[in-house]
Every structure is written in C-alpha cells, then in structure tokens.
C-alpha cells in the first residue's frame, strides 16, 4: 500500500499509509528523545535542529533554484545582531525581535538577490561574498563603537513568567521551528514556485522564454532563503545568550555549504543529513583528539579545520551526491545481493 492511487493522494503531504506510519514514528521519536538522552546529547540535538533551518534555507536557494550564495554567515549574523541591537538598545522582547529579524532578512535577501539578476554562477557567488564582508564590517563597527570587546549579552526570551532556558524547552521550540522550515521547504518544492525554481536552475534563459518571470522568482528565492536564515540567526542569539561578530566568519558559510554538499545537493533529506553531519563532526574530532599527543589536542580547532577540509575534499572528489548518494549505493548493492540470480544460459544464441 505504498503506491499513490489518486491525484489527491499525491497532492497530500502524507497521502499513503506508509508515509503516515513514518510520520507517526518520527513524531513519537522526537517527542520522547529529550527524556532519553543526556543533557550534552540534548544540546547536540538542539544544535542540529538549529543548523537544519539554515541548511534548508541554503538548500532552497542553491539546491532548488540553482543560485549560488556564499552569504549564509552574513545573514545569520544579521539575524543575531538584529536581536542583539534591539535587546541592548530597547530591551525589546522576543515577539518583537524575531519578526523584525525576519523583516531584516527579507530586506537583505532582496539586496543579496539583486546581483543575481545580472550575474550567474561564480560571479554571483563572488557578489554574495562581497556582501558578506559588508555585513560583517557593519557588525564589527557596532561592536567597536559600543566598545563591546566580547560581544553582546542577551537574556533568554521570556513570556508570561516562563523563561526559556532548559535544554528540553529549547528542544521543543527548535523542533517546532525546524518542522516549520521543513514544511515550508517541502511545500515550496511541490508548488508552482518550486517548479519555477527548478526551471531556473536548469536554464534560466529558457525559463524566461517559457514565460516564467525569472527576476521575480530569483528574488523570491533569495528573500525566502534569507528570511529563514536570519530567523535562524536570531534563534541562535537567544540560544547562546550571546552575540559576537567573530562567530560569523567565512568558515561558518563554508560549513553550511558543506552541509548541503555532504548531505546531498538538491534534496531536503540531504540538507538534514548534512546538518547533522557537520554539527556532530567537530565533536567526533575532539573525541579522537583525546588520543593524540598533547601538542595536537591543544589546538583542536586547527585539527577541526584540517579534518573538515579533508572530508569536504573527499566528498567533492568521490561522492558529489553526498551522503544520500552513498546511501543510495548501499541500497542498490543490497538489492542486487538480494535479487534472485538468473542463469545466463537461457538467452545465449
């Protein structure tokens, strides 16, 4: 009962019984998880959830619409800084800062997206790189002017007396946001917008000739992606109770790019897999580093860089389809191993 028997079923998000079963299982696991793991592991899960929002946003832009962007860190920083500035200057509560961050994101998305109307590929990536540095500069300016050598401290968000500090509470909040991001992504993928983006990715000139308003959809892609990213950045500010422009370096952008490559470009499960991989990777390296001579374990972040670089190179060279590609290969190999073998005798002349 896994096939879709009607158009209505195909349209519905969970049209087949199999999908509904999987959804139920996922819901059950996610509900129970925070009570079954250690606080440290819960924090890891929270980081993965937070990262998946940004990863999905980048995936929409680059994987779906084919628009290369190296501006993720800048947008995350903009979201975080919006919260930081509003909290510091006006003591604004989260139900103001988050929407403002979203609006800032939409605005920045428009700006970051303008070059895409004229530029493609490499040149587009370079323009987003330039914008990243501008955003980073503005953040650094603020910190210098306000003499904030170590960044802005932010209180945890609170509503009606309840303050969001515990790992478990954060888990459910982040799960909700991540689920929302996932829903948005899945729906966009199946919508008219998603199809237009796919056409853009393949050949935007042809798409234009077919009557698709190329400009509108390119800007829409940037704006939606940027909004999701800045909101993720805002959440990050509250999650860490702290914002400093140093955290938003090019390396952070590369990590997000790596998420969608390692996970598997152009697919939603890929983005989630990639987010999990990239977030958990440094912890794995740290664990290994404990076994290395002291000289290395003292500069774990360098070991991180080196190992991350190696892994990214390996994926780009050997498995451009990412983890999903590897998974596919394993599945094919297992299916081939399981399939009944036919003798060659029957068909020879």
């Amino acid at each position: 009962m896994n096939e879709q028997a009607s158009y209505k079923q195909e349209l519905a998000l969970f049209g087949t019984p199999a999908r509904r079963r999987r959804l139920a299982a996922a819901l059950a696991v996610s509900a129970v998880l925070p009570f079954m793991v250690s606080p440290f592991q819960l924090d890891l899960a929270n980081q993965v959830l937070l990262a998946s929002i940004g990863a999905l946003a980048l995936m929409l832009l680059t994987g779906f619409a084919g628009l290369i962007s190296l501006g993720t860190a800048g947008l995350l920083g903009a979201g975080a800084y919006t919260v930081g500035v509003l909290v510091r200057e006006a003591g604004a509560p989260f139900w103001i800062t988050l929407p403002v961050a979203a609006i800032v994101g939409a605005g920045l998305g428009l700006i970051f997206g303008l070059p895409s109307l004229r530029l493609r590929g490499l040149y587009l990536a370079i323009s987003t790189l330039g914008l990243h540095f501008v955003v980073v500069y503005l953040g650094g300016e603020y910190e210098a002017r306000e003499v904030l050598a170590t960044g802005v401290m932010i209180d945890s968000p609170s509503l009606a007396g309840f303050t969001l500090t515990s790992g478990r509470a954060w888990y459910f909040v982040l799960l909700a946001f991540a689920a929302l991001a996932l829903l948005v992504s899945v729906n966009l993928q199946r919508s008219r917008t998603g199809r237009a983006w796919r056409a853009l990715r393949e050949r935007d000139v042809v798409a234009g000739a077919l009557g698709i308003n190329v400009q509108r959809f390119k800007l829409l892609a940037f704006m939606i992606s940027a909004t999701m990213t800045t909101v993720a950045g805002a959440l990050f500010a509250y999650f860490r109770n702290f914002v400093s422009i140093d955290a938003f370096s090019l390396y952070l952008t590369v990590q997000y790019v790596a998420m969608i490559i390692i996970g598997g470009m152009g697919s939603i499960p890929g983005a989630l897999l990639g987010a999990a991989f990239v977030v958990l990777f440094p912890y794995a390296i740290e664990a290994i580093a404990a076994y290395l001579p002291a000289r290395f374990s003292n500069i774990v972040f360098a070991l991180d860089y080196a190992a991350f670089g190696v892994v990214m190179i390996l994926f780009l060279l050997l498995e451009p389809a990412g983890l999903l590609g590897i998974w596919q290969r394993i599945r094919n190999a297992v299916a081939a191993w399981r399939a009944p073998k036919r003798t060659a005798r029957a068909s020879s002349p």
């Binding site: 323009s127 330039g130 490559i261 080196a306 670089g309 190179i313 780009l316 060279l317 451009p320």
Partner: protein
C-alpha cells in the same frame, strides 16, 4: 594628498598586484578560481620560516629554497588534487579550492601554531626604514616588494608573449579542446600554471613575512587581493595591476579620511561596485560571464 600616502598606496598596490598574478594565471589558463590562494601564499611564507631556521647564516639560499618549494607546491596541488576536476564543472573545482584552503589553514596551525614568526630576525635583519624622498619613509622590505612586483610582471609578460610554453598556456586558456587536438598536453600546462601561481604567491608571502612577520591570519591578504584581479578582468595581468592600484588607493584613502576599520571591507566594496557596473572587469569580455 601627501607623498607618504602615495608611497603607501604604491606599496599596498604592489602587494595586491603580486598576489593577484596567481589568481589571474590559474583563471586565465584553466578557468578555475583558486580560493585557496591566500593560504598557499601563507604557506610560502612559512616555508621561508622553515628554511630560515635551517640556513640562518645563508639568507639567499633560504630564500631560493623557499621559492623553489613554492613552485613545487602548486604543481603538487594540481597533480594530487585539481587534475581530477579538469573537465568537470568549474564550480566543483572552486568548492574544492575552498576546502583546500580550510585544510591548509588547519595544517599550518597544527605545524606552526598561532605564534607569530619573523624570519627576517632569524637572519639578523631588522627591516630598516628607507627614506626614498623628503618626508617619505617605507620599510626596506616594502621597497623590495615593489621592485619584485615590477620584475615579476615584466617576466610574466615576456614569458606569456614570447616563449613556447607561454603561448601554449595562452592557447590552452582560450580553447582547451583545440589545444589538446594540436598536441598540447593540458595537464602539463595546468600544472605549470598552478606552479607559477604559487611561486609568485610564495614570493609575496616571503617578502611580507620579512616586512611584518607571518602568522595564521596572513591568508586574509590573499582574499583582499582578489578584488584587484576581478577589477582587471580575472584573466588580464595588466588589468590586475591597474585593479590593484584602484583597490589600494581606495583602501588607503578610506583608512586615512574615513575610518581605519574600513580597511578589510573596502576591497569588497570596490568589488561590489565593479560587479554592479561592469562585471567582466576592465579588460575582460562579456562572454566570460556566460562561461561560468
């Protein structure tokens, strides 16, 4: 504008121009944007630290060895890594160079830590200030950088225009398929382009280390030099030189008259302006935009 300011601009332009030759060489010959260039430049400087440590009594030998290492480094990077991407989408190659840059940054900290090194001091050389005109002082190393940049540009020009290998490199850059057809081995040409690129980058890194030392954030200079190459058109050496002057002038003027903090962002503001007005740069061609 005082003469000292002009001198500062010339020195900064020379640094950017020298570093840009690497971007231009690789892009022109193989259409790849090497975003690990800054890190490779930094490793060149570290090579000098290494050779200086061994041959502290013989600076010339140390410099030559480090330069030779720089040349070899690029060819090795091509032979081991980049050659597998020849013929694939350019974007994949660029992503790999980004990953390579991260790898190199990590490795260099693992090997040399975050400490600052002064290979000049190892030679007992303290980079005196030179008075080149009334009221105008620059460091001796800066003067050397300017001279070296001129020599390198002249040398590259002669090489590309008049030698067999140079013409082959230009041909491979214009039409790789036809070049293969006419007997030019692309892998050899590309490897040499990479070698030349890291060679000039290492020279820049070495001189910078003699001027102000080397530590793990030196690679940023490499990234700041990129807008200079872009302004020129990414595949033109002359363009890169002019672009370097423009970027350096903008940067120094901004530091002097507006805000010193702008130093790291001005090159990218110039980059954005160029991309908005004339993305293919001063000497590039419109078709370039579609090739990527």
């Amino acid at each position: 504008m005082s003469l000292q300011l002009v001198a500062n601009i010339v020195v900064l332009a020379a640094i950017y121009a020298l570093v840009s030759t690497g971007y231009v060489l690789i892009y022109r010959v193989s259409r790849v944007l090497n975003l690990a260039h800054g890190e490779l430049m930094m490793i060149g400087a570290y090579l000098l630290v290494a050779t200086a440590g061994i041959f502290s009594g013989n600076p010339l030998l140390a410099l030559l060895l480090a330069a030779a290492g720089g040349l070899a480094m690029g060819m090795v990077v091509y032979a081991v890594l980049m050659r597998w991407l020849t013929g694939e989408a350019v974007l994949a190659a660029v992503l790999i160079t980004i990953a390579l840059g991260i790898l190199l940054r990590g490795l260099s900290i693992l090997i040399w830590t975050t400490q600052q090194y002064y290979p000049g001091a190892t030679f007992g050389w303290h980079n005196p200030s030179v008075r080149i005109a009334p009221g105008v002082q620059i460091s001796a190393a800066s003067l050397a950088i300017v001279f070296l940049t001129v020599v390198v540009y002249a040398g590259l020009f002669v090489f590309l225009q008049f030698t067999r290998w140079g013409v082959r490199m230009r041909a491979a850059g214009q039409n790789p398929l036809l070049a293969e057809q006419r007997g030019i081995r692309l892998h050899g040409v590309y490897a040499f382009a990479w070698g030349l690129s890291t060679f000039t980058a290492s020279l820049a890194g070495m001189l910078l280390s003699l001027d102000s030392g080397v530590e793990s954030t030196m690679a940023t200079i490499g990234l700041k030099a990129f807008p200079a190459a872009l302004v020129g058109g990414l595949d033109s050496l002359l363009g890169a030189a002019i672009g370097a002057l423009i970027v350096a002038a903008a940067e120094i003027a901004a530091i002097q008259y507006v805000n010193p903090l702008l130093s790291d962002v001005v090159p990218f503001l110039v980059l954005l302006v160029v991309l908005a007005i004339r993305p293919w740069g001063l000497f590039g061609s419109r078709e370039q935009l579609d090739r990527v």
